[in-house]
Amino acid sequence: MSSSQTPTSETPIVRMDKVNKHFGDLHVLKDIDLEIAPGEVVVIIGASGSGKSTLIRCVNGLEEFQYGHIEVDGNELLPNGKSAKALQTIRTEVGMVFQQFNLFPHLSVLDNVTLAPIKVRGTPRQQAVANARRLLERVGIADQADKSPTQLSGGQQQRVALARALTMEPRLMLFDEPTSALDPEMIGEVLDAMRELARDGMTMMIVTHEMGFAREVADRVIYIHGGQIVEQGPPGVVFDNPQHERTQSFLSRVLKH
């Protein structure tokens, strides 16, 4: 209870203060200050190795940081992983979709989606199943519920992963290059599902190289380079009128083709 502010709808869901992260000698995140408002869709862009994954993985504690402070929906994450209790709370409120899907291959599609509600929330199986079927329907794969995830296409797997994350009714969704491992013809179906989620008002932090999607869906685009936020703003500004030379050269490289 360090803050005396009364929470309003404008209280940010994520607040990062001077977050610094090292991997050994490598200073991966440098003084990251970032606030994300409820319902905001933030797209993070930058070259490979610039720290995009590390940044969003700090938000749900998959990476520890060494200095600074992160608050997620009022739960405080401290440096060096000294916040085990808040961590569990945060993770049930923050969903994540990975580049490699990370579905559980030993469980059916349905059991992938019901595992967390049943084990973490203690939701009765019947209710968890009904909820899972509804979510699978929503991402367009209701008919695959009883299959093994290994029988699905990449695009279908990623939509299952999305349904699995949504089943915990997260307040915030993290996406780490959700379409980078997909064949080109399957990218659209995953982006469509994400677009719909954004339309429904989900708060989202998305790392992606899909610039067209970013321009269309993002409220804010953040360009990160060498572990620092170099530039941020509405997509129209960052894409069409970037202020920093580094952003310009990055965009000219990725938008060329």
């Binding site: 569990q88 993770r91 994540m96 990975f98 490699q100 990370n102 595992l115 967390a116 973490v120 993290l174």
Partner: protein, 223 residues
């Protein structure tokens, strides 16, 4: 040179009733030892991958010691050596089971370690990101997948341990080889009897292989 190959089938068959009583001992020592070895293997295999040195180091020591010494020496140590320390004799059957347990336990620790470490990091991260605790992520996500991958090497270890029990005739436990030796002492039909003993081992190990292959074909084990 005139070699007469004089194999006496009647003698071979006649030995069977004297050898069969060894099978329950062989199976009891093997599978009793392996069952305990599996528990030891889970415990020490997980200690072996712990980030905590005080768990990891004893596990490494145990694994190195019992993989680096012969099972025959281990069983002699347990049967003849330990009673000196304890001041009371140890039953030969118990000594045999204990030897297989500690010996297979060392190998199974490495199988457990390999199985758990073979599961991609993303599996655990996906579990944690859903709010599962580390224990839950292990129990519901990592362990079931690791176990499937462990079954083929575990089957392999079982076959090795079954064969290792043949050495335990030296402590007088009435397993297959021991029964054969006792019978040969009165009949002098070593050729026939040891062939039968070998065939009985084959019958046991082949049955086990067959079961494992069936499991694999049904997709219950492996990847």
């Amino acid at each position: 040179m005139d070699v007469t190959f004089d194999f006496n089938w009647a003698a071979a068959l006649a030995s069977l009733p004297h050898l069969l009583p060894g099978i329950p001992y062989t199976l009891l020592i093997s599978f009793g030892g392996l069952a305990i070895g599996f528990l030891i293997g889970i415990l020490f295999g997980l200690m072996r991958i712990s980030p905590l040195a005080w768990l990891r180091i004893p596990a490494i020591a145990y694994i190195e010691i019992f993989r680096g010494t012969p099972v025959l020496v281990q069983v002699l140590f347990i049967f003849y050596g330990l009673p000196q320390l304890l001041g009371s004799p140890i039953n030969a059957l118990v000594a045999g089971i204990a030897a297989i347990a500690v010996n297979s336990g060392a190998y199974i620790s490495e199988i457990v370690r390999g199985g758990v470490q073979s599961i991609e990091r993303g599996q655990r991260e996906a579990g944690l990101s859903l709010g599962l605790s580390r224990t839950q992520a292990f129990r519901y996500i990592i362990w079931p997948q690791a176990l499937r991958r462990m079954i083929p090497p575990l089957g392999n270890q079982a076959i090795i341990s079954i064969k290792d029990t043949s050495l335990f005739s030296v402590i007088g436990v009435g397993e297959l080889v021991r029964q054969g030796q006792v019978y040969i002492a009165t009949t002098f039909t070593a050729l026939e009897v040891y062939l039968m003993v070998a065939l009985l081992y084959l019958a046991i190990t082949w049955s086990l292989s067959l079961i494992l292959r069936l499991l694999e074909r049904k997709g219950l084990v492996g990847q």
